[in-house]
Symmetry: none
Subunit: 198 residues, 4 copies
DNA sequence: CATGAATGAGTGTTCATTCAT
DNA sequence: AATGAATGAACACTCATTCAT
């Protein structure tokens, strides 16, 4: 891994744990094992580090959601088993993905300082997932598994508890917290299915 | 208003917007209109400012919740009208209260740096409201308005969307954002009632 | 004891232990139990505290030495017993007197900053004792106990080891150190007598 | 001379004149001609300056004393001429060496604040020289030049007056003071020899 | 590619002092 | 006599950044 990449990894790790402002160039360089002045060969300034990371985030999150979209397109019938797998997959493969977790951790802090980051956070944390779930339930209403005309409402009732349970366990740095979260999410999904049996 | 109080107000405002670490003593004193050295006449150090604010928060939040408890004790029958008023009251009188809003803003940022603050945030933002709503639905199941044995689930489905809508509108500094939030919350509450008509 | 006196006592204690510069007005007032601003009713500024203490010191040291002079005037014959008692009395009653110890402790530090204090230190720590001992040995040479014409030399050989042993035990805050010092001084005095038996 | 060395020299000079605590980073940087922040490139913090100086002191003092030991080992007979040269050499080459003078000046002030420095001062100012002189007189008693069995006493009578005269002339910044000191020391040494002619 | 060396701006904090009350 | 409130200057130290090598 070349130095630039090492720097980015270190920066992401530290930004996500302690926030952009609380992390110093010294901290990052200390982890990488280079001098502070050397960092400026790879990045124009501290802000450029953040920007590079934000670019990666958008790309990674985009990849994940288009993957979801493709998956949804192939669905024709939904068994409950699949429904559960999709829901926990969202948590395990996205919300708990170390890099995504780090990105949101960073954004959650930094959105206070920067409207652009606030917009980014809202888009990828609230709006896009909500839109996806809405489309999802629209699709599922065609199979008869969920009632039609209530897609937005269903998406909210589906998603909000997941994020509630997710945020409540912050910071998710212990395996116990993660297990607790997954268990609570699974229960929520099962209850959700029970409430909406056709 | 005496200087100590002015300092606390300024500190709360800035901490909530940018976080404890990102705010300097200079920033606070600049807003109050005193020199930095003068602040140290009123508070031992920067941390003492935070502690004083945390004390206030716990007190204020405690007052609000015990008020809610008293209110609940007096309920005998629940008309939908009252249910709506209680829900929007929680948002308007608590979540949107400028001081509470500021406190949670501050905690939301600082919990990343301080486990004690993380615990405080979880307690007052997630756990206590959830417990209260659980008790509420237990009480309402006695009146027959809501099914028995599902209090926890009901509380989650009731509360999570409210916080989802609330956080999505951050920072709530414009009247439009607040109106948008209240409208969305009201819609959620009405839907909630419809779904659970006895 | 009135407040002014309390302040002086506290100041002397702290100056002697930690030096004038290292002691803050806060420290002194904290010990006395008054506010910093109150101190300025009693003393013009911090330096005035030092000056007041220096005045006392000169007075006290002067009293002690004129006492010694009177004592010497009454001596007609010197038994070794008396010689020993005078020597240990100089250490116990003067060098180890808590106030004198404090004064010299303070002067030893502060003389670096202030030529006047350097002069004061030299006068009372080196020159006056040396002069006194010189007069003493001049007197004793009349009794035949010590040889004539060597008063200065005798005074130096008598005094220097005492101060050597004294300073070597700094800081003299434990009873053990004081006992160790007195024992070493007594041995020096006995040897001194033996070397100069007539 | 590189910047780090310049900083150390300036620090030693100022510490010795005014004591570690009374000297600010600003003072040192002002003398060197760099900004305060630059100092931190060379030294971790203010204490690190002191530690570096203490290390040098121990090394230099150690070098000097082992030199003395070697010199003593080669002595077979002692002529008075040599005795005088050794004594004045101790004053001129050690006590008056600018760096040693500065080190002791610093230690003399700071030992009040720091037990570790107090121990260092006692060791190199009192104990080691006393031990060396004791060994010296033990060696000389074999040549018959000094009586046996009184080495400790002789060392004290030899050394204490030197230190007495030395300290009395503080601060030794004028050539006159140094000359006065050397003259007084020479007189002491000559008297010492006279008193102990075999 | 990397570093040694430097810097200006800023950090929280302590200090002796003033002055109206 | 004493204090509440304030202040300018100083303190040790950190920061992101620059630039010649």
């Amino acid at each position: 891994m070349d130095t630039g990449e090492q720097i980015l990894q270190a920066a992401l790790g530290q930004f996500s744990r302690r926030g952009y402002h609380a992390v110093s160039i010294r901290d990052i360089c200390g982890e990488v094992g280079i001098r502070e002045s050397s960092l400026y060969y790879h990045f124009k300034n501290k802000r450029a580090l953040l920007d590079a990371l934000l670019g990666r985030f958008a790309e990674k999150a985009g990849r994940f959601t288009s993957l979801l979209d493709e998956g949804m397109a192939q669905l024709t019938e939904l068994e409950d088993e699949v429904f559960l797998r999709v829901g926990t997959g969202y948590v395990q493969g996205y919300l708990l993905d170390p890099e995504i977790l780090a990105f949101f951790g960073m954004l959650r802090i930094e959105r206070e300082h920067d409207p652009a980051l606030a917009a980014l956070y809202r888009e990828w944390y609230f709006d896009r997932p909500l839109q996806f779930q809405t489309r999802m339930f629209a699709r599922l209403s065609q199979t008869g598994r969920f009632p039609a005309g209530q897609e937005q409402r269903l998406a909210l009732l589906y998603l909000a508890p997941i994020l509630f349970l997710y945020e409540r366990e912050f910071p998710l740095d212990s395996a116990e917290a993660r297990a607790r979260l997954l268990e609570a999410v699974r229960r929520h999904l099962e209850d959700f299915l029970k409430e909406h049996h056709p």
